[in-house]
């Protein structure tokens, strides 16, 4: 696939109007790369919103139509699921603080448009974790990981319970008590995040992170997590959030300050750098300057540029530099999540369990 082809998805994400003048083979490339990046539904809804779908030739249009149907079904399913979670936790008196996709959807934010969901994520205070887990089990959720090592991995070292699966609906719920593993080098304080969480109009029991915290969490997820296959999708989330919140007064000036407060200056630096470079997200120059406090040493920045910029490149093949970059980032994410000895131990356990479903 030529470079021009690889850039097509990025051009359409930056400027959907490009879709007015694509050839059939460009449509084919766009659909393949978008589907691989989990962004086909996003583009479908974006084309629909801009009334561009009628310009799409019949063959490719069928795929956007299908992706639109799927996105709407997923959104409805997540809304329903959030309702079930809220009902299960009503007696705890705790607000249900939604994270990531479910939060974008319930708060009506633009990254939810056409986003694919694999689970619902919530954040609860660490000291209420076992109470919350008990409540959820009473309502039909149970741990999807039954292996003793996996249980220990999550409960002792991670920032979340082992994923919970609902017995009849088969939906997955991640209950977080922090946004980074207990063992990670960066230590954002969850109490600060919970204290700043904001209400959702018309949903008395639900909360989402404050706009700035939501951006910082999205950045943290993208630049510290091992889910590297969804890199571009996560960068699109960030781009949408920055464009939407950036229009609100008071957002930009406080961003870097809050990042420092939460020990997240480094992820914020990367977030702004790559959102600008890859998706041309508008970022005020003074904010980019303020975020420089999170800038890594230049040898590291060069390395990260090489890896991240490649990992965001759309692809339809398994081999190639982008997949090497993703593998390196996967290893890096683990490096950031655990101190070296623990990581060595974890990787040893995983190596002997290849083929089974494993933790982390």
């Amino acid at each position: 696939m030529s470079l021009e082809h690889a850039q097509l998805l990025l051009s359409v994400l930056r400027e959907p109007e490009v879709a007015r003048s694509l050839t059939l083979s460009q449509w084919e490339t766009l659909i393949r790369t978008a589907r691989r990046a989990n962004l086909l539904s996003r583009i479908a809804l974006e084309l629909e919103r801009r009334e561009l779908l009628s310009h799409v030739p019949e063959g490719p249009r069928a795929h956007f139509e299908a992706a639109r149907v799927l996105a709407n079904a997923q959104a409805a399913a997540v809304r329903r699921e959030v309702g079930f979670v809220a009902r299960a936790l009503r007696d705890t008196g705790l607000p249900v603080v939604l994270l990531k996709g479910a939060a974008y959807l319930i708060a009506g934010l633009s990254p939810a448009r056409g986003r694919m969901f694999s689970d619902v994520d919530i954040l609860v205070p660490a000291e209420r974790l076992s109470e919350v887990e008990g409540r959820l089990m009473l309502h039909g959720w149970s741990s999807a990981k039954t292996n003793a090592y996996d249980q220990r991995y999550y409960r002792q070292w991670m920032h979340e319970l082992p994923p919970l699966k609902h017995n009849s609906r088969q939906t997955v719920l991640d209950v977080h008590h922090a946004i980074l593993p207990t063992t990670a080098r960066l230590k954002p304080d969850s109490r600060k995040l919970l204290a700043a969480a904001t209400a959702v109009p018309g949903e008395p029991q639900l909360r989402v992170l404050a706009p700035i915290d939501m951006v910082l969490h999205s950045a943290t997820h993208l630049f510290c997590n091992e889910d590297v296959g969804n890199g571009l999708r996560d960068l699109v989330d960030l781009d949408c959030l920055l464009r939407e919140f950036g229009a609100e007064a008071g957002f930009w000036p406080k961003l870097a300050v809050r990042a420092a407060e939460l020990d997240l200056s480094r992820p914020l630096y990367y977030a702004l750098r790559y959102a600008d470079r890859v998706l041309a997200t508008p970022i005020p120059p003074e904010v980019a300057r303020a975020a420089e406090v999170g800038r890594p040493p230049s040898w590291l920045r060069r390395l990260m540029d090489m890896l991240f910029l490649r990992s965001f490149q759309p692809t339809t093949s398994r081999a190639g530099l982008a997949s090497i970059a993703r593998l390196s980032l996967y290893v890096r994410a683990h490096w950031l999540r655990m101190p070296p000895l623990l990581l060595a131990h974890h990787l040893t356990v995983k190596a002997f369990r290849r083929g089974e479903e494993t933790a982390g």
Binding site: W27, E28, V69, A73, A76, R318
Partner: protein, 303 residues
Amino acid sequence: MILRELSSRALKSLLANCGVRIRTGPIVTRIRSRCGPLVEGLALHYADYTVEDDAGFADFNVAIVRPGGPRRWLRPQIAFEFDGATPFFPLPADQAFAMLEWGLNWCVHFHCHQYLIVHAAVVEQGGLALLLPGPPGSGKSTLCAALVHRGWRLLSDELALLDFGTRRAVPLPRPVSLKNASIEVIRRFAPDAVLNAPVHDTAKGAVAHMRPPAESVRRAAETARPRWIVLPRYQSGATEQLRPLSKATTFMNLADQAFNYDVHGRRGFEFLADVVSESDCFEFEYGDLDRAVVRLSALARQG
């Protein structure tokens, strides 16, 4: 161009390089492979299909490849690749063609939500479609293979594509998958049917594919109105019995066999309800294929 017009050398070289774009009903798939059994399977089963030119649009891009590693020499395996992803575990190399067929089914039922997709064989006569929904083992593919040798046109042996706009069944004629004893049954029933040599020890036992009748392939653009829904059940030694089935029971069966019923929500419910209420619904127990085909063909004569 029709695939049989390609020399076997040309086909092999196309498959190894830019791929062959094969049209099956509304779907164009670009297939690439260097795997011998796959090239032979395509040449045999897809001889009558249209090969689209490179400038057109392919709905799906797939490849059957040999994964690397030491198994390459020990016990060769093949993998199904979809835009660089491998959604299934690799299989032994002799199952290449079956894997392609399973992979193509997956492409359609996993992505084509512009349709309501029911796990059912579909055949047509006089513009009217007979749907044979049923889980594996119910005998729908066997019955379907037999019917298309007795005057019915093949729409699909596996995936009923129901179009929301036109309310019609859209043909997706592809090779009919036959398992275990059905392979011999169909060979005896229709000696002129073209089948490949069965591949043994697959997840589904022995599997062979039957080439769809050329006329069904040629008429793949002609949709049909759903008219009969018959839930088949093969029972060794049973006398055939076609019993009316209530609309409610038929509906529940069909919903249960729909791949993407959950994706369509209320719209899917209403569409499926319409299809059921406008069709005659039966359950059909049969033991003898000849008699079963005669009984079902009698439905078509009544219109």
